[in-house]
């Protein structure tokens, strides 16, 4: 066990994974300089330029090349520098990465990982604060995970690398360095597809993932302090997602608040609400509340706070479900 930040935990996972000769890491500035967030710090030096590969500025090329590598038997880990720069690679992801197993009926597979720092909250430049997970959730054939803490960050990344299919790993920029926790030193995985029950409760269920767990946790604490018993779920894995844990919880509490940082319309929160009402309608005491980013371009630094879901909003939403 070592205390690590999320970024350090991811670095440890990459280091661990690169011990296997078929794993390569590639992307813009991942090598010599260790990545713009230093997540791959030290790995270029340790594993050399054939294993930790600095690429030209070409996202479609990075993902398409990694895809070819995966078909030919390597296990590439491709980094996209920021989520807003993943869009040039969307064609490769939807039309190729997510399809090869099905279109070749298991003959060819793409055991690759696509790492993408995502989300706002650091007042970054335009296109540097996106949360486009819904696009990947809606894409057949790729899995999507979003750790919220150092333990899961390492465990989910290692699970993604071990997975026989392509996995998008979304790394919450805002908590790269701000959350620390104990992380085992060797190889371990966090299973893809299972949510984490962070706190059990009776009155209302709060469901969130990634960077938003920070707000969700703070809201839960505040509510508990006021005598509301909160069940807090960290979804962790968006494809597949853990219907069972969420449904069981809402059947018990009869109330739910679903939190996502992404734009509101047709996001992951919409999907969760749809599934919950399908499976738990008769247990609902109040409409399920969605706390989300708005359907606007994420504001720049000076007004970003008007976009990001807040602890207050989550608390207020939970209260509304209780008053209904």
């Amino acid at each position: 066990m070592t205390e690590r930040t999320v970024a350090q935990a991811l670095n440890a996972a990459l280091d661990e994974a690169l011990e296997a000769p078929d794993v390569v890491l590639l992307g813009e500035d991942v090598g010599v300089t260790g990545g713009v967030f230093r997540v791959s710090d030290g790995l270029f030096k340790k594993y050399g330029p054939d294993r930790v590969i600095d690429t030209p500025v070409a996202e479609s090329g990075i993902i398409g090349a990694a895809f070819g590598m995966a078909i030919a038997g390597l296990r590439p880990i491709a980094e996209i520098q920021f989520m807003g720069f993943s869009y040039p690679a969307v064609d490769q992801i939807i039309n190729h990465v997510g399809r090869i197993r099905n279109r070749s009926r298991h003959r060819f597979t793409a055991p690759m990982v696509i790492r993408i720092p995502y989300g706002g909250g650091i007042g970054a430049a335009e296109h540097h604060s996106e949360s486009a997970e819904a696009m990947f959730v809606h894409t057949p054939g790729v899995k999507v995970v979003v750790p919220s803490n150092p333990y899961d960050a390492k465990g989910l990344l290692l699970a993604a690398i071990d997975d026989p299919d392509p996995v998008v790993v979304l790394e919450p920029i805002r908590v790269y360095r701000s959350i620390k926790g104990d992380v085992p030193d060797g190889h371990y995985t966090v299973p893809i597809g299972l949510a984490a029950m962070e706190h059990e409760g009776r009155d209302v269920t709060i469901i969130a993932y990634g960077a938003m767990m920070k707000e969700a946790r703070a809201a839960a604490v505040q509510l508990e302090d006021d005598g509301v018993s909160v069940e807090l779920i960290d979804l962790r894995s968006l494809v597949p997602f853990d219907t069972e844990m969420m449904v069981d919880s809402v059947r018990k509490t009869g109330r739910a608040v679903v939190v996502q940082e992404a734009h509101r319309s047709a996001g992951m929160a919409s999907e969760i609400v749809a599934v919950l009402q399908e499976h738990a309608l008769y247990h609902l005491n109040a409409p399920i509340e969605r706390i989300t980013g708005w359907d606007v371009v994420i504001p720049l630094r000076r007004a970003e706070k008007h976009y990001l879901p807040t602890v207050d909003q989550i608390v207020a939403a939970a209260r509304r479900t209780l008053e209904a």
Binding site: P88, N95, R105, T109, G141
Partner: protein
């Protein structure tokens, strides 16, 4: 416009030494006959409603058979919807190609050991896959190379650029083979790019570009063999532009009468890639009508057998469409599979 490299002229005369012996040329000629037989059969089947849209390759047989001929089985081929001949020549069974065209995912299931990707239907995306395949082989140090076939239209996509650039930067063992067949659906080559040749695009990536007569089996073979050799020996990528013509419509849903395609068909018929090899073989006492009849019969047998096998296969069931998205279907897919069966997923 620079002259393309030609070895065998339209009359079946050698303009330079042949890179191949007569027996090999006979074999490749037979391959071209088989390919054309398939092409005609598939077009006919499409008209009968037995296939989905079909993209004919007639006129491009020298490109496809000639470019694959220098490869070893361990090498990779990443090609398009129009490249059935090339895929087959590298080991992809006809039955898969027919199946694919009936609209069946199992067409994409190359046999184990056949290093051919399912045909790319999107224009552009697969060239970068070839780069990745070549890169993996380079990193593993196997000496295997990748060949990617694509059209003149595909060179306008951003992915062509990114693929070529990566190939140049990392000196990758990949051969870019452009079949410039004059058209991208209705768009003529001279409106696709203002570059004088597609081969000239190589320089922008530090990758040599060569221009060959795409209806000349021997020139195509020679150019590709040199490129494959260079790639295998650490010399990096090559861009080959083969000048050819699409003798039929873009696909069976296209009407080439609507654009200027038809006018040139007659001229290109005189440059038929099979005919000039036939003449050459005849000149050298390696062709007569009986032999031709024999290989044609054989071709029909092969193609008919593939068609029969493909059509005998029952379609994928509802259950099966869920089975190859991941190594194991996810919870959501299992639930959806139950819903598709008409079962209630929940209580």
């Amino acid at each position: 416009m620079p002259e393309p490299r030609t070895i065998l002229n339209e009359n079946g005369e050698l303009l330079a030494d042949s890179p191949l012996d007569l027996e090999t040329i006979q074999n490749l000629y037979e391959s071209m006959v088989i390919a054309r037989t398939y092409d005609h059969k598939a077009s006919a089947m499409q008209r009968q409603g037995r296939l989905a849209t079909y993209a004919q390759f007639e006129g491009q047989e020298a490109c496809q058979i000639g470019s694959v001929a220098p490869l070893e089985p361990r090498d990779w081929v990443a090609a398009t919807y129009r490249d059935a001949a090339a895929m087959w020549a590298h080991g992809y069974p006809w039955v898969n190609l027919v199946l694919g065209r009936t609209g069946d995912e199992r067409g994409g299931q190359a046999p184990e050991g056949v290093n051919v990707l399912p045909p790319s239907i999107t224009v552009g995306g697969h060239m970068i896959h070839a780069v990745g395949l070549a890169w993996a082989e380079q990193l593993k140090g196997t000496g295997a190379v990748a060949l990617t076939l694509f059209g003149d239209g595909a060179t306008s996509e951003g992915d062509f650029h990114e693929a070529m650039n990566f190939a140049g930067v990392y000196t990758l063992p990949v051969v870019f083979f452009c079949q410039n067949n004059g058209w991208a659906i209705s768009m003529p080559r001279d409106r696709q790019t203002a570059a004088e040749t597609i081969a000239s695009k190589g320089a922008g990536y530090g990758v040599p570009g060569v221009l060959v007569d795409g209806n000349d089996l021997l020139a195509v073979f020679a150019a590709t063999a040199e490129a494959v050799d260079r790639a295998r020996n650490g010399g990096g990528a090559t861009l080959i532009e083969a000048l050819t013509y699409r003798m039929g419509p873009h696909t069976t849903t296209d009407d080439p009468g609507r654009y200027g395609h038809t006018a040139a068909v007659g001229m290109w018929a005189e440059r038929d890639p099979l005919e000039r090899v036939r003449r050459y073989l005849e000149r050298n006492g390696r062709w007569d009508a009986d032999w031709e009849a024999g290989i044609e019969d054989h071709a029909h047998e092969i193609v008919e057998a593939a068609v029969a096998e493909a059509e005998a296969l029952p379609p994928l069931s509802s259950d099966e469409i869920f089975e190859a998205m991941f190594a194991e279907p996810t919870t959501q897919l299992r639930e959806q599979q139950r819903l598709a069966r008409g079962e209630r997923a929940h209580d």
